[in-house]
Amino acid sequence: MDTLPKAIMNALAQHGVASESVLCWLLCDRALENGFRDTYVLLTREELLILSHDQAPAREKTYSGYAANTPLKGLSPEKEAHWELEALKIRDIESLSIVNLVASGMVVIKAPEERAVAAFTNGGMRSAARLAKIFEKLKKSEELGPEELRDDQERATCPKCGMIYPEEGRQVCPKCMKKHAVFGRLLSFAGKYKVSMFWIVLFMLLNSAAGLVIPYFQGTLLFDQALGGKGTFAGQIGLVIALIIVFRTLSLLFGVIFGVINAKMAANIAFDLKSSVFHAMQRLSLSFFEKKQTGQLMTRINNDATELQYFFVDGISYFVVNAMNIIGIVTVLLIMDWKLTLLCLLPLPFVFLLVRKVFPKLWRLSIRRHKRVSAMNAIISDTIRGTRVVKAFGMEQMENARFQRASGAFSDAEQSFNKMGVTLFPVLNILTQIGGILIWAFGGWKVMQGDFTFGKVMTFMNYMLLLYGPIQFMNNIMNWWSYCMSAAQRIFEIHDAVPDVVEKPNAMQLTEMQGEIRISNVTFGYEPNKAILKGVSLHARPGQMIGVVGHSGAGKSTLVNLIPRLYDVNEGEIRIDGIPIKDVSMASLRTHIGIVSQDVYVMSGSIAENIAYADPDCTLADLIHAAKVAGAHDFIEKLPDGYDTIVGTGGHNLSGGEKQRLSIARAILHNPKILILDEATASLDTKTELQIQEALDTLIKGRTTIAIAHRLSTLRNADYLVVLEQGKIVEEGTHEQLLVKEGAYYDLVKKHDEALKMNEVITA
């Protein structure tokens, strides 16, 4: 737990409260009226303490994620606040709850009147949920476990710069990320391509070395010696031309060789990277994929891998070669004439300045253009895909106007981008050419004075032109390097991510399963302070069918997802055959559990492959029998390609009912001891549902089944029913018992019957 601020410690001491007795605390940073004013809510074993002050609201606020040591503007009241303490005995408080507002929370206590204590912005939600939980335990006089008192879920901060990590559960400070370490790790990835890299760099160097001599040949050798009739090559124009041709060819040849090796290595590295990321992803828990920020992480993976591919292919080798080129050319120029060299490097700072200043602007304009074109494309795709709706409501004119607006906006953005572009590049060109003009001017003057030969000026000129490319490359390299390292970091994160649901090191292999399920006192939520299930208990004997009913959002699907351990419970326990599922190896647990859910996913592949997804080695006879039992055989036989029909992305389109039957066949073939039916027939029409119902009835035999259904008729065979309402079991018993009770289930049945009658009226 974070330590209390000093001022609060002092205030507590003033009021005679030992700060060690504080079990947990919450900083409420919002005033109930408006603005930011701090109130501390603290909990000791006996009391709830509220520390508040009556100063004016703070005039500045730094939210999490922003570097914590950013200097404040000093706008908040300077004088030390006087903290008022209000102590309430826990036994006098009926309840303490956290009310979720929009992007904030509020602490409400009942003592005995309801009272809003203070409000806090969303960052405090986790601490608030913890406070409420500990309060509840204290209220019930329950012992606090070590995990309640330990608070390791607080947002960690970067030890180096004090910035709060911007993403929860992702202990990466983007500012202090050790780029060198990431780079080193990345290089180790390329380790097995050491030999290729060596050859690539070697041939690139040879390529540019061969290119570097040419200006010398074309200048000094050609003009001064061959044409000027002095030195070794006097009058031998043919030989010099031949030499130029030879070196040009050599340079070209080396270039081709390096290109070929590079192309091969690039493809290999990209393949390695992508498959390693894919592999790493597969071992992660479901929650990893469902978290918002990681969803975004995922979509970036592909781009990141491509980015890194460029890094290996272009980055490293070009960096080495360009660096060598710059050093080489500048050395040659300095040796030839250092004064002239310095003179013609004069425009360079201006070029840099311009690039630094104007390129970001150009970049912004290009982003704007990109966004506008996406907006326009969105409208096009909207109207094309939604033609039916547009036409049905006669809204063509409105769509035209909408498109006109977007198209106009895009045209504006395009124009300003192009205007900027056509101004910037010629200016840059002129600037770079000034170096050349300077050489001509001063070189020419020196030639006239007889200090310089014409060939030397030509050589100078040609070298200068060769220099600009590498310099431009170096100018961008820092940005680009940061970018690549961030990409690498994200990829390594997937590699290093620890699955939420982890198997114990010596997990048990469950070879035989009876199918007894015991869920005891399970509490679970995806987010703090939003428990989906609260203290749910359930017992299913082997072979029993349990029906779970309730309104949507009651937590039915969440409950069944806990059985195959797609998520771990927050509190309580689930046992199968008396063994806690946390002790069982995940693979063996899941082989015994089959799920048929509402949204069926059909993999790309043949129908046979889809049915045999969980058991690819099954016999063809089993496969067909399973399809027959699931009621899928007949429609498959009718297809021209039978069981070999390709389905999934780009394949044959199956109807909802057909897909559902495939998934049932999949479950039948899998032959699990525990079967979970999660709204298996909800999306189907009544007729199809009846057909599938028969298939399900066959499937259920001899297995423990937990079935969720909206349509209560699906559950007519259930041995036992539980009614879930807002995460709690409110009723349980057999169909008859519950009807007699005339409670929640009775209401559901009544509503259901009414709906059915309505259906009949409509279809009649």
């Binding site: 922003y66 507002l101 992007a103 009147e113 009272r115 912005t121 940061s482």
Partner: protein
């Protein structure tokens, strides 16, 4: 700034009962009228409402159109999210009640309104904002990659930070060129 200044849309205006009586009948929404509804604020800052002779303790005010008009079609709900009734327009109610309900709306939809953008720095997929708001200077971090900065109407921008805290730029068109350029990169 009063709530009225916030409402940007002139299109949304409450009309008595809507234009289709059949639809209103089917919807069966209970509208609270000032005559038989009494709102009170307890000492503990909780809102109570007495409607049609029944008292509800600890109710909350939800806006149907929190971005376009916060003064119309308010839904009065219990903490369990059950609707007690709706208010067509705050204007129907006495001033004191209006103020009370406005405060409750502020409490629920607290989002500092940005009056001046001081700086927006983009780095490694996050943008770091520094802005003058109606609640003082705020510094916050926004995740990049779209989705966190949304145009709610033609000129009203909603910015959601890494924790889900909300900030509003009520009039995008009133930003200076320099401010707009900083904001635009994140949109």
């Amino acid at each position: 700034m009063t709530l009225k200044d916030v409402s940007v849309s002139e299109i949304l205006r409450p009309e008595d009962g809507g234009s289709s009586p059949g639809l209103a009948e089917a919807a069966q929404i209970r509208y609270l009228s000032p005559d038989d509804t009494e709102f009170t604020l307890t000492e503990g800052h909780m809102l109570n409402v007495k409607a049609g002779g029944k008292e509800h303790v600890g109710v909350y005010v939800h806006c149907s159109f929190p971005h376009t008009n916060k003064r119309i079609y308010l839904s009065i709900r219990t903490v369990e999210n059950e609707e007690i009734g709706m208010i067509r327009s705050l204007d129907e109610f006495p001033e004191e009640t209006q103020r009370m309900l406005e405060e409750q709306v502020e409490l629920r939809y607290f989002a500092p309104e940005i009056s001046k953008v001081l700086s927006v720095k983009e780095e490694f997929g996050y943008s770091y904002w520094d802005a003058e708001t109606t609640s003082g200077y705020c510094r916050f971090t926004v995740r990049g990659g779209g989705g966190s900065v949304k145009l709610m109407t033609a000129s009203r921008l909603l910015i959601v930070d890494v924790d889900g805290n909300r900030f509003i730029i009520p009039h995008l068109d009133r930003l200076s060129d320099k401010e707009y350029k900083m904001v635009e990169v994140c949109m």
